[in-house]
């Protein structure tokens, strides 16, 4: 469909750049630091032997978890998802506020295409870009897993863990689409996307520091925890449900608004 192709063409460059950044970062972190990290285990164990075992337990320090591919992967994941969130927010905001920003809503909406169709075309374009980006991400994750994990015997779990990025990005897409459709004015896509991404990032960092489980319901970065995927083979159901509900809710609200709102004269 022409709208689909149009939006794809307009948004693919920035999506590509961000994808390369994420891929590069991950490769650098894992290839560069994982071996060193795993080696430091002995050091940490030595230190822990000086403390009573209750300490380690109190901190939930499962050395097997931390000093594994999965543990290290999850640690870097916060940063991949930050960039992923910004990339997705840019896509969502760009596609859904384009006509509003460039003042050509009249042009598109007086074409013989239902508003449903337009919304769908834009959504599809966004999803395509996100999917392509994540296919590459998952592929690289698996490759790095095979190459660097000390015992790469659970590729299925690696697959699940790396798909956490895809799901997290979908939540951010919904947030961005909602914001784009409901905002009266969108002055700067990159500014708003950065704010959304960083907002989520800070919420996540806070949640980590404070270790407050309840906060997880409002931190999109933590709905899909890759470490859980690695060690338990699944994500936490209540958060998955939250994510799904949030995503669907926001998208449906945006859809209704997009298809029913009046388009005022300039």
């Amino acid at each position: 469909m022409n709208v689909f192709r149009f939006e794809l063409r307009r948004a693919w460059t920035s999506a590509t750049v961000w994808t390369l950044v994420i891929l590069g970062l991950m490769a650098g972190l894992i290839a560069g630091a994982l071996p060193v990290f795993l080696d430091s285990r002995a050091n940490v164990e030595a230190m822990l032997s000086n403390f009573p075992p209750e300490f380690a337990a109190a901190f939930g320090l499962e050395l097997d978890h931390i000093f594994s591919f999965g543990g290290f992967y999850s640690f870097g994941f916060l940063y991949y998802s930050l960039f992923g969130a910004i990339m997705t927010a840019v896509i969502g905001l760009d596609l859904f506020s384009r006509e509003k920003r460039e003042k050509c809503t009249d042009f598109l909406m007086s074409k013989p295409r239902s508003r449903d169709g337009l919304f769908l075309a834009k959504l599809l374009a966004a999803l395509t870009l996100i999917l392509l980006s994540n296919v590459l991400f998952i592929a690289e994750s698996l490759a790095l897993y095979r190459a660097y994990a000390p015992v790469p015997d659970a590729p299925a779990r690696a697959l699940l863990a790396s798909s956490a990025l895809l799901f997290t990005e979908l939540v951010f897409l919904a947030i961005a689409v909602f914001a784009a459709v409901f905002a009266r004015k969108v002055r700067s896509v990159s500014g708003a996307a950065t704010a959304i991404g960083f907002g989520g990032f800070i919420l996540s960092a806070l949640q980590s520091i404070l270790e407050e489980e309840k906060l997880r319901y409002v931190t999109p970065f933590k709905y899909f925890d890759p470490s859980k995927a690695f060690f338990e083979g699944s994500f936490d159901t209540p958060y998955v449900i939250t994510a799904v509900l949030l995503t669907l809710g926001l998208l449906i609200a945006a859809y209704i608004r997009y298809t029913r709102s009046d388009v005022p004269a300039l």
Partner: protein, 296 residues
Amino acid sequence: MGYAIQTSKLTKYYGKARGIIDVDLAVEEGELFGFIGPNGAGKSTTIRTLLGLIRKTGGEASIFGMDCEKDKVKILEQVGYLPGEVFYYDNMRAIDLLRYSASFYKKDCTGRIRELADALSLDLNKKIEDMSLGNKKKVGIVQGLLHSPRLIILDEPTSGLDPLMQRTFFDLIRRENERGATVLFSSHILGEVQRICDRVAIIKEGRIVDLKRIEDLRKNSYKKVSFTTAAPVSDFTLSGAAKIVQDGNQTSFLYSGDVNALFARLAGLQLVNADVSEPELEEIFLHYYEGGEEKA
């Protein structure tokens, strides 16, 4: 031929503020229909409701017999819309935008694009954002006509075009009309409306206050006469003349009546200069704009 546009008690309220109230229109297919009124009268609101850009609060609206809300997509395939203010996507050349526009219609418009661009002297390879206002307007015109629509809706179409281009534009519109297209023409510039429309509707404060054929307007109206004589004329009188103003050697008045009688009277004077003209549609309509209710 059926009706191209038909509305019955079409109403739109923006919250509590009135947009349009009980607008009844019936534009026949093949007509050149004018739509005039002061700022804020509801011209844009009516048009945007017809196009489905805003939702009506009450009443009915149909184009080519199809309901504007339910069959919007089918209707839009045969409608070309030229809006007043023209903005397009950044970073696009005219030809890119026109091709994108054409891709929405199920026909091949490349020939038409070239044709129209040539007629308007439009450089298709220029970026739209780098164009002057007039050229942007031209892109808008081509964009609205490239799919040879059955109904053309124009909203202040010639603002920004130079007089030569305006004439070219009207020739284009007339040719479309000869081809069978219906034209709904909303404008402030009464001279334009006067020039090409068959009928005209006047909207004021959200309601249609009048609907007339242009010729009927002319028929029942007066002529403007003014002349200069070598020496002041004392007590000029003529039956049928009204609002006689005398200023030194100049006399002017409004005349409705037999033209022969008028010229016979003037022939009796020593004229230096004389001017007999049709009133501008403006003068006829100005009282609508001003708020008075009496007819011209």
